[in-house]
């Protein structure tokens, strides 16, 4: 989230699209209710199903899953056509006026530079024209036909209300009503917030779904302001934290990158990361990259990271592919290229697409280690549960080691909520049996591996043997010790160059925040964006002052919000070019002639004059990007692409199947279905009574929603002869499930490109362990393909068939 849960109270209009906050984030949704009750805010819900969020909406519009980009570009087109643009914001704070290089073009669903064999682009033309002064060329009059605004205007012109109806199945009058309500928020004193979740990410073009709304929010001037923003409602309690800390193939904590093979040494690695400003006087904060990187190397390898050895640069692995994401890795596993796998609090047998392939892949492992507080289907993937897990244990040669870990109630530390608040919590209960903290387990694995390398030597042991391990109890580092590493500390005392008797940084002290980090090895820091969370003032994540001065929703002394305890990202953009709030009733920060101050930590240098330094300080331009340059794989503007399995052909680009740059593995192509074989458009979702596959272990939740079902419309039920509550078989080209049918008015057929499209809804909470009845998850059906930029699997739009059946045999 750019903003926070409690900030939603400040909004005038909530749009829930790509999520269902009332059911999946109920206690956060309360702030929507507050805004409605206290500000007269309105709620719009756009969803294939009439959800519980929709049931309390002021306006609901149906949409076919996988067509959000067409809808949103349609709204952008409406805003441009009807002059509903926050012009001052757009001209000053976006790259609307930037001139794009000659040679860039778009036609029939593709941009310049496409290579069909590589399924990738040469992105060199997706760039600004650079002037003789070395800066990007801009045309503040917006007259240049090649400026971003004019290119955008032409690009979205296709997405008329009629075209939106044809693609999305949203009736034109409903689309226009939504567009009209949204467009009102182009006023500097009206604000919309976007609340989205997995309904936008789990598509083969998920990143572009989100980007489309971000562009719309910029055009309306809704980024950086109270009650505005792009608010990703993260799915789990610390997905935000695990992402921030970079537990991904290609990441270093704080959104730094693991080197790739061509970055053979540290100098080469840094050469593409200078982040020189593209316009005069801009901050381009990533210019500090080297400080964050070196401080990371120091926290990892301490004295072994020296200027002489490039701060142990070679201790890091170098990637030969963009990432070993889970789809790539299960493909490798399926090919027999993987020996062992660890699952820490993760249940891939139910969480990854094409379950049959997942089972086959796990069966090819020599060993599997699971760590979890609860039984998981993954730990028991080899166990026969009749139809629910039809495997032959004797034929599966995988050794499985199942380790019991503690749960939240027995553990201490911080979780990061969707609004970037790092909140500390304490342990209140003893673990059952011999269950152990994850920290103890990880420490034991490291120490035992380290001991083997000390004794026996072996392949490149240095990064293991030199790993910093200065914990009081080597067997179990404490949460406080680990949090202090994340914050960062001073390795060597640094003296003031002007006064060598004065120490500016004192060895052994915690750094105050990331502004103190250095690139010479004098500081160490685990995750620069968290720096400030545990400094010499103490554990700021444990703060519990719930005062909220002037009721802004900021709660500035509650816990710690990264970065620097900032509550709303890009908050400089809440003020105009004179530094005064666009909406005086929703002041966030303001410029007093010499400095910025207000209710939040300014997202700009405190003394940066408002008419000189742009608000988007992480970007080299200082402004936000309506045109993404070469940073998105599909193109600098979003395009409507159908899901890989779609009920109709792509209307705007009939020759393109799915996302033209999404990675597909050859073995999976044969398992992509057409609408002739599989006519119905399926989607997956959560219910409010359950959390993934965890709560089926709880008596209360298993009682509230005891068994697997699928939802279908009355029309489809009549067509297929399916009675309410009867058994149905749902199958895709990859697998099948059996479920009870819930025939509902909440789902209605949509008319898309002249063809009726039936939607089938498949919730995701059942398996073969726990208290609830046995069942299946949607992953038995879904295709093995992910988003082109980040490889999130396409769970939200795929094709199935359905027929009446009989109950599965009980086991």
């Amino acid at each position: 989230m750019t903003n926070s849960w409690t900030d939603i109270r400040n909004t005038d209009l909530v749009i829930i699209m790509g999520g269902n906050a009332a059911e999946a984030h109920p206690c956060g949704f309360k702030w929507v209710t507050e805004a409605k009750a206290n500000r007269g805010a309105k709620l719009i819900v756009v969803d294939p199903r009439f959800t519980r969020s929709a049931s309390v909406a002021d306006f609901y519009a149906p949409i076919r899953q996988g067509t959000d980009i067409a809808f949103l570009l349609g709204v952008i087109n409406y805003c441009i056509q009807n002059d509903k643009v926050q012009w001052e914001y757009v001209k000053a704070f976006t790259n609307a006026s930037y001139v794009v290089r000659e040679g860039f073009a778009y036609q029939d669903g593709l941009f310049t530079g496409y290579d069909e064999n590589k399924r990738d682009y040469d992105r060199s033309s997706w760039e600004y024209e650079i002037g003789p002064d070395g800066f990007a060329v801009v045309d503040e009059t917006l007259q240049n036909p090649r400026c971003v605004w004019n290119l955008l205007k032409a690009h979205v012109a296709t997405y008329t209300p009629e075209m939106v109806e044809r693609i999305c199945g949203t009736p034109k009058d409903k689309f226009l009503k939504v567009a009209e309500m949204i467009a009102e928020c182009s006023s500097p004193t009206k604000t919309m917030t976007s609340m989205y979740a997995l309904g936008w990410t789990q598509h083969s073009k998920g990143s572009q779904n989100i980007r489309s709304m971000a562009m719309l929010q910029l055009i309306l001037g809704n980024i950086g302001v109270r009650g505005g923003g792009m608010n990703a409602l993260r799915g789990h309690s610390n997905i935000q934290g695990l992402t921030d800390i970079g537990l991904m193939s290609n990441l270093i904590p704080g959104y730094l990158n693991i080197p790739v093979e061509r970055e053979t040494d540290f100098t080469t690695y840094m050469s593409s990361r200078t982040f020189k400003p593209l316009r005069p006087n801009q901050t381009s904060y990533w210019q500090n990259y080297r400080k964050f990187f070196v401080s990371f190397q120091k926290v990892m390898w301490g004295d072994a990271a020296t200027p002489q050895n490039e701060f142990a640069y070679q201790y890091l692995p170098k990637l030969d592919v963009p990432a070993y994401d889970v789809l790539r890795y299960f493909e490798m596993m399926h090919q027999g290229k993987v020996t062992g796998y660890f699952c820490q609090g993760f249940n891939p047998l139910l969480a990854f697409p094409n379950r049959q392939k997942i089972t086959e892949s796990l069966s090819k492992l020599k060993w599997l280690v699971t760590m979890d507080p609860l039984e998981t289907e993954t730990a028991r993937f080899w166990e026969n549960h009749g139809e629910y897990n039809n495997v032959d244990p004797a034929s599966i040669q995988t050794e499985v080691i199942q380790l019991p870990s503690t749960c939240f109630a027995e553990d201490e530390g911080a979780l990061v909520n969707s609004g970037r608040w790092l909140q500390w919590h304490w342990a209140g209960g003893s673990p059952p049996g011999e269950a152990k903290h994850d920290t103890w387990i990880m420490a034991q694995i490291h120490l035992r591996l380290r001991a083997l390398y000390e004794k026996e030597g072996g392949a490149f042991p240095d990064p293991i043997l030199d790993l910093t391990w200065n914990y009081q109890d080597r067997n179990e580092p404490t949460p406080e010790e680990l949090a202090k590493e994340l914050n960062g500390y001073v390795v060597e005392t640094v003296y003031d160059p002007a006064d060598p008797t004065k120490a500016v940084l004192e060895k052994g002290k915690q750094v105050v925040n990331f502004s103190a980090l250095r690139d010479d090895g004098a500081t160490a820091c685990g995750c620069w964006i968290y720096s400030g969370c545990f400094n010499e003032a103490g554990n700021n994540m444990a703060r519990r002052d719930n005062a909220d001065p002037d009721d802004t929703g900021a709660y500035p002394n509650w816990a710690f919000s990264w970065p620097l305890n900032r509550r709303i990202l890009y908050n400089r953009a809440s003020a105009d070019l004179q530094g005064q709030p666009w909406d005086p009733s929703r002041k966030l920060i303001a410029w007093d002639g010499t400095k910025w101050s207000g209710y939040d930590v300014p997202d700009i240098a405190p003394n940066a004059p408002p008419d000189v330094v742009g608000p988007f300080i992480m970007n080299q331009e200082g402004v936000s990007r309506l045109f993404a340059r070469g940073l998105m794989r599909e193109g600098p503007f979003p395009v409507h692409y159908e899901p890989f399995e779609a009920p109709i052909a792509n209307v705007v680009a009939p020759n393109i199947r799915g996302n033209p740059v999404a990675r597909i593995f050859q073995n999976d192509v044969a398992q992509f279905a057409t609408s002739e074989e599989f006519p119905y458009a399926a989607t997956s979702y959560r219910l409010t009574e359950h959390f993934h596959y965890w709560t089926k272990h709880n008596v209360v939740n298993a009682t509230l929603q005891p068994e697997f079902f699928v939802e279908i419309s009355e029309q489809l039920a009549a067509e297929k002869g399916i009675a309410q509550g009867s058994w149905v078989r749902v199958w895709s080209k990859r697998g099948e499930v059996k479920a009870k049918a819930v025939v509902t008015k909440r789902i209605k057929p949509l008319m898309c490109d002249g063809k009726p499209v039936h939607v089938i809804g498949i919730p995701l909470h059942w398996g073969f362990t726990g208290k609830a009845r046995k069942g299946w998850g949607p992953n038995s059906l879904t295709p093995f393909v992910g988003d082109a930029n980040i490889e999130t699997p396409e769970y939200k739009a795929f094709l199935v068939n359905i027929e009446p059946t009989t109950a599965p045999a009980t086991v």
Binding site: G241, I245, M248, Y329, P373, I445, L449, E456, L486, K771
Partner: protein, 199 residues
């Protein structure tokens, strides 16, 4: 409500264990005595309160856990009740149907209690000691790392990559667990490193 509380207080003072038999002596009618006998003692009396966060979605509602026994004094502590934290700015004490049933997660019958190993081809898990499980894991890791570690690529450039073992990290562990996991996994050269954010 006040009366009920005061009766609870009275019963506590009177000694709950013998309340049923002695109440008559205090002048209670039979009906009142029967009712009083059925009122259980206030379950949160003499419990430890601990602040925590709901581990499910990212709203991160504040919760208060009540336990018998105090971990801070080195005692064994049993969670007996969990409720919303009214001081928390986001949830202000409310919980959803999942958060309201959190105690069931802590107490689930399917909580894991002991390390287990399932041997190749077997149809069951067998209980093992932590030492056996962890030494086995370290040995399996080392043998494979030594056999398959890629120190340099074809051009002789150091790449220090271990591709034949992967690590899938969680979604609800603390930052501190995540950071220690990061350190341990990265130091081995594992590149198939991912977490729940991917899906």
């Amino acid at each position: 409500m006040n009366m009920e509380l005061s009766r609870r207080g009275f019963l506590k003072a009177a000694g709950v264990g013998v309340a049923g038999t002695t109440l008559g002596a205090f002048g209670f009618s039979e009906l009142e005595a029967a009712q009083a006998a059925a009122v259980r003692p206030f379950k949160l009396a003499n419990t430890m309160e601990t602040r925590n966060t709901c581990p499910y979605c990212s709203v991160a509602c504040g919760i208060i856990m009540y336990s018998k026994g105090d971990l801070r004094k080195g005692e064994t502590a049993e969670i007996i009740h969990i409720e919303g934290d009214a001081d928390h700015p986001t949830n202000r004490g409310t919980l959803c149907p999942k958060g309201a049933a959190l105690k069931d997660f802590v107490k689930a019958e399917t909580r894991l209690k002991y390390p287990m190993i399932r041997k190749p081809g077997s149809d069951k898990f067998e209980r093992v000691s932590w030492d056996l499980a962890l030494d086995r894991i370290a040995r399996l890791m080392k043998d494979d790392r030594d056999a398959n570690f890629i120190a340099t690529n074809a051009a002789g450039v150091p790449v220090n990559r271990w591709t034949t073992v992967g690590f899938l990290a969680a979604s609800a562990t603390t930052n501190e667990t995540a950071w220690l996991t990061y350190k341990v996994v990265r130091s081995t050269g594992i590149v198939a490193f991912d977490n729940q954010a991917r899906v």
